[in-house]
């Protein structure tokens, strides 16, 4: 059975596409700035390398596929992929990690499937998940979020971390910290009470220390995109509402072992995923009802993987890829009726 796949960006011309993508980048700025505030130079090195590698690999693949370079490089799609990948991986990631991530995102997930508009999976999430599965040690090396962290780990430290890796000394080790979701996963696995875990230093006022503000930054950018009509409300709202609903049910059932809906909304990659990753027009569902099923499915899998998934504290990347696979089926069953078509 052959499903028709809708692809969004083919239908609009290139300058309009570039403008849309540029506005997505503007919307990423508040969250990114907050992330730089808490994680410092490492976020800048991630962004620089990921965007550099993504653009270079995109150019090489376009050359190999004998496609024109200019329109495809200036539509900002590779920049967004690199940018999202950079925000998903730990700050100060070594250069080769970013290179492999960008390779799988741009070459395998995007260009080998036919380039922009034809990729069934979100490229940035393919890159992220490949890294998560392949390099678990590097991918959990998160530094503790500290205020104005650019002052505490300097530019030269960044160069050392990125190009030679982290020295195996206690001073550096002390600067890394389990993320809030990690803490919960390990702690609850050991039957520790939730109330005790959330007193730990990785937790802040609303959710995870540092992370809560970064998430709110993404939320602001996301709301601005909805206001500017760059994305529709269907996916982010359904995703956040479903996640809140599921977590509220379990929280109401037993608040001593299940975190609050607020925590789930502001932890890990929920906000980034809801507004910037799940809404990717190419790999997401295209019909209004389809978007709602798609987003609800993502929320369901995020909760499932976060709470019961073995080994992985967050599930946004996996959830998005699983639902990407279901998109042709969802679109098939939710196609809007053509005007004048008879009711069956």
């Amino acid at each position: 059975m052959q499903f028709e796949t809708e692809s969004f960006p083919k239908s609009i011309d290139n300058s309009r596409l570039g403008q849309l993508m540029r506005e997505v980048l503007y919307a990423l700025v508040p969250g990114t700035l907050l992330m730089i505030w808490f994680f410092g130079w490492g976020v800048i090195s991630n962004l620089f390398l990921a965007i550099l590698f993504s653009l270079s690999l995109e150019a090489i693949m376009l050359k190999l596929r004998k496609r024109p370079l200019r329109p495809f490089l200036t539509d900002y799609s590779a920049v967004i992929t690199g940018w999202l990948l950079a925000l998903s991986i730990p700050a100060f990631a070594p250069w080769w990690l970013i290179l492999i991530g960008s390779f799988f995102a741009i070459v395998i997930a995007k260009q080998l499937y036919g380039g922009l508009g034809y990729n069934p999976f979100n490229p940035a999430m393919v890159g992220y998940v490949v890294l998560l599965v392949s390099f678990p040690v590097e991918m959990v090396n998160w530094f503790a979020p500290v205020n104005n962290s650019m002052a505490s780990i300097g530019f030269t430290d960044m160069l050392q971390l990125v190009f030679t890796g982290m020295p195996d000394t206690p001073e550096w080790d002390a600067m890394t910290m389990a993320t809030p979701l990690d803490t919960l996963k390990i702690g609850l696995g050991l039957d520790k009470p939730l109330a005790e875990l959330t007193q730990g230093k990785s937790f802040g006022v609303l959710a995870g220390a540092g992370w809560e503000w970064i998430s709110l930054g993404y939320l602001c950018g996301g709301l601005w995109m909805i206001y500017r009509k760059i994305i529709s409300w269907h996916i982010p709202l359904t995703l956040l509402a479903t996640l809140a609903l599921i977590s509220a049910i379990f929280w109401g059932y037993d608040a001593s072992t299940h975190s609050s809906p607020l925590f789930h909304l502001l932890a890990g990659g929920t906000m980034l995923g809801a507004f910037f990753i799940a809404t990717d027009p190419v790999s997401a569902s295209t019909t209004p009802w389809g978007k709602i099923f798609y987003a609800a499915g993502i929320a369901f899998f995020i909760y499932l993987i976060r709470v019961w998934g073995s080994g992985y504290p967050d599930g946004v990347g996996f959830a998005v890829l699983i639902m990407n696979m279901a998109v042709p089926l969802i679109d098939y069953y939710t196609r809007p009726k053509v005007f004048g078509e008879a009711r069956e």
């Binding site: 395998i108 080998l112 599965v133 392949s134 390099f135 678990p136």
Partner: protein, 235 residues
């Protein structure tokens, strides 16, 4: 059906109609065991042996097998051969036998073997059936070997590790360690690595074929088609 020449049979088995890359048969063991070269080689050799023994036997018996009952007879012959090979491996390559596990008895269900029995051995003389089985088996084993090599290098940074399981203690030195770090690319050893790796091999094969077609076209227009058209493979 015309009797194929040995040259043609060789080309078909190794390249044009390669079981792993063109017919896409036997993908289950192909992906499951190729986490390193030695596993790939072990299963590849077992498959060649099975294929050669069953195809030749079936070719000898082809005049006695009536079409109505041919499939049960093929299955019986193949099953007998696989059982013998399993017992042999159990006796002489015990550790490799354990690593390959269920995939040795599962050679019975490998579509390549019944496929060659039905499509070739039942219609050709024993020498040709033998050669076809050997070439098809070698083609399959080469894919196993290359995929196993790719995945072993990426995931562990080694080649021919555990070679002693197959060739005895003296082969321990065959193992090549390309990088000592435990920074291997874990995905390559996992199932997605097999799918991506095979996908890349298929792409490379098709790309080479496309290049050849283009070159032939270019050559043909240059010599204004004075050369006879080379035989086009018929499936």
């Amino acid at each position: 059906m015309s009797q194929a020449s040995y040259r043609k049979i060789t080309q078909e088995g190794l390249w044009n109609n390669n079981p792993g890359l063109v017919q896409l048969l036997g993908l289950c063991p192909l992906m499951a065991v190729t986490t390193n070269v030695v596993n790939g080689l072990g299963l590849g050799l077992a498959t060649i042996l099975t294929l050669v023994a069953s195809s030749t036997t079936i070719s000898f018996a082809r005049h006695f097998i009536t079409p109505e009952i041919r499939l049960p007879v093929f299955v019986l012959i193949i099953a007998a051969v696989v059982t013998a090979i399993e017992l042999l491996m159990h006796a002489f390559f015990f550790e490799l036998y354990h690593i390959l596990g269920i995939f040795i008895p599962l050679i019975v269900t490998n579509c390549i073997i019944i496929g060659r029995a039905e499509a070739f051995a039942a219609k050709h003389t024993p020498p040709k059936a033998f050669w076809d089985a050997l070439m098809m088996g070698t083609g399959f084993a080469l894919v196993l070997l290359i995929l196993g090599g790719m995945r072993e290098v990426l995931a562990n940074g080694t080649l021919f590790d555990h070679a002693h399981l197959m060739f005895g203690e003296s082969a321990r030195g065959l193992a090549i360690h390309l990088f000592e770090d435990d920074k291997g690319f874990l995905l390559a050893a996992l199932p997605p690595g097999a799918f991506i790796g095979l996908g890349l091999l298929l792409a490379i094969k098709n790309w080479i074929d496309a290049q050849q077609v283009q070159r032939r076209k270019a050559g043909k227009t240059a010599t204004t088609a004075t050369l006879p058209v080379t035989s086009v493979s018929t499936e």
